[in-house]
Amino acid sequence: MNVVAKPKLARNIGSYLLLTVLALVVLAPFFIGLWTSFLPTMQIAKGNFLSTDLSFQNYIDAFTQTPILHYLGNSLVISTVTMFAQLLFCSMSAYAFVFLDFKYKRSLFVLVLATMMLPFEAEIIPNFSTVKAMGLLNSYSVMIIPFLTSAFGIFMLRQSFKQMPAELKEAADIEGLGHLQFYWKIVMPYNRIPLITLGAYSFLGAWNQYLWPMLTTFSNSFRPVQNGLRQLQSEETFNDWGMIQATAAIVVIPTLIVLFVGQHYFKSGANEGAVK
């Protein structure tokens, strides 16, 4: 027994050592960022990273001296609206692509997919001239309207709707459910896992937007949090690094919350029992 177990243990030790080193490499920037957010800027400037002069002062400063709360509010509004809009519109289009019959259904779907092939950066100039012509610059709408729906979301939900057992639709037909009732009472709850996934994905996508808001917003009243963070760095004549790190740490918190809450739902087997 021991003879067999020993090389396995040795191999495991090697693997774990390698994994630990890699984890450290990946996580180090986060830890350094978090650590420095508790240090006074004077210590950071001196390069004294191992100082034990830790405090929450940077966080207090961030909330009292910068418009970070306002940025957070902006981002929250934009991300939440984007998320719900994408959930609604993507699920409705996916429903149409799966459960309705209409002319050119296939071609239309291919067209939707084709927009996925185009990187967002390539669409920025035409999109910019469009929103400018619509007079939407520097508003919430400019950061929401272009992202009301997403080809990826439609594609993803279509795939999971397609996997619903045909008998559920038949059972609904027997009870006389219309399309809207079937969509709302059966398709949506049945696909809650993909919907939560898409919701988390689109919320974080909107939360982490940088390029588009940078081009289309000019004032703190509409600037989302990522751009606000950048703003902190240039606005001040003297860069208060401790406070900037504290702000960055605050900005990451919603992402973590979404991931933790989301993870709770990503359990397998939630739809077991519908059909054998």
Partner: protein
């Protein structure tokens, strides 16, 4: 509520014909079983009655009203599916109540019906559970409860038991039968299992190759199959069908694969025939030399009976059911005879009626 089909046809496109000329009348309160091998169109036929699949031609009547163009809901029926089709996000109670809520019944009425339905299928204690927390048999009971709770008097079932294991299937078979009788449902039940058809049906419709092969009571179907397909489909082990020719010397005599001879009271109706003999209508005995007409291939002891597999000298395989335990060794020469319940089919498989008693001897 009775159901009538008149010359119903289904084509998926101009080339693929799925069902042809289906006509049948299902009486109120009848347990009607549609049986056939997989792919024969029995589920399609059920969905056409339900209104889930449009029909190409013919008419479907429920209580003398043509319902061809009515949506499923307006046909006032319920359906139980092979894989249950439960809503995984709803509790047992809500699954049963779902259809009633969709039909906008009063809350008191819904509660009373669901309670009664769950009691009938013995699920009262599990009302709060989700489908995933139930066993296969319990899930199927939820599906049944949905049908029971509805006030619809027509229930369609599409192979409801085929996902269950053998013992549970027998139990659920009895439960379904009891429910149907108790509620007076007109039940159309689709299955590929001839035992389910035989044990539950008032009338059986045998479907194969796009056509109705036969409609009749279980005993009619078993004792008087209209063709060799029906004869082969019912009965375990399967009926022996052997090729036969009219004797050239005596037109009253038929040679069955050159090993058995049958003397008829009338002239054999065709030169080439097929004879069907149920395994339990055949007899075997040990024989020596010229008396033997077959060789034992294998035997299966089932407790109350033994199945003897043998090869006739002509090369045709047969099987014979012998009551109790039979001691035959492999390769032992035997003599096979049969003297009653012979069925005659023509070369195409169609049943030929031969009125008088026929006799077989070696």
């Amino acid at each position: 509520m009775s159901i009538t089909l008149n010359n119903v046809r289904k084509d998926y496109d101009s080339e693929t014909e799925v069902l042809k000329d289906i006509s049948v009348n299902v009486e109120t309160g009848e347990f009607f079983v549609i049986v056939g091998p997989s792919g024969c169109g029995k589920s399609t036929l059920l969905r056409m009655i339900a209104g889930l699949t449009p029909i190409t031609a013919g008419e479907v009547k429920i209580d003398d009203t043509v319902v061809n163009d009515l949506p499923p809901k307006a046909r006032k029926l319920t359906m139980v599916f092979q894989n249950y089709a439960l809503f995984p996000f709803l509790s047992v109670w809500d699954n049963v109540a779902f259809g009633l809520k969709a039909r906008k019944l009063a809350t008191d009425d819904i509660n009373a019906r669901v309670k009664e339905a769950l009691k009938m299928v013995n699920l009262t204690d599990l009302a709060k559970r989700k489908p995933r927390e139930l066993s296969g048999g319990q899930r199927q009971r939820v599906a049944l409860a949905r049908a029971v709770a509805s006030d619809a008097k027509i229930c369609l079932m599409d192979e409801p038991l085929s996902n269950l294991d053998a013992q549970l299937r027998i139990k659920m078979r009895q439960e379904i039968y009891a429910l149907q009788r108790k509620l007076g449902l007109t039940l159309i039940y689709v299955t590929h299992d001839q035992v389910e058809a035989m044990t539950m049906a008032d009338h059986i419709m045998v479907l194969n190759d796009r056509h109705v092969q036969q409609i009749g009571t279980p005993s009619e179907i078993y004792q008087n199959p209209r063709n060799d397909f029906v004869a082969k489909f019912f009965g375990t082990p399967q009926i022996n069908i052997l090729p036969a020719t009219r004797s050239e010397e005596n037109s009253h005599m038929v040679n069955v694969s050159s090993d058995l001879q049958i003397v008829l009271d009338e002239e054999a109706p065709a030169e080439n025939l097929q004879i069907g003999i149920r395994p339990d209508d055949m007899k075997v005995q040990l024989a020596e030399g010229v008396d033997a007409n077959a060789v034992v291939k294998n035997t299966e002891f089932l407790g109350d009976q033994t199945i003897v597999y043998a090869t006739l000298n002509s090369g045709n395989d047969i099987h014979v059911v012998v009551p109790g335990k039979a001691d035959f060794r492999n390769y032992e020469p035997i003599k096979v005879t049969a003297d009653s319940n012979l069925m005659f089919f023509d070369a195409t498989g169609k049943r030929i009626d031969i009125s008088k008693e026929a006799y077989v001897h070696a």
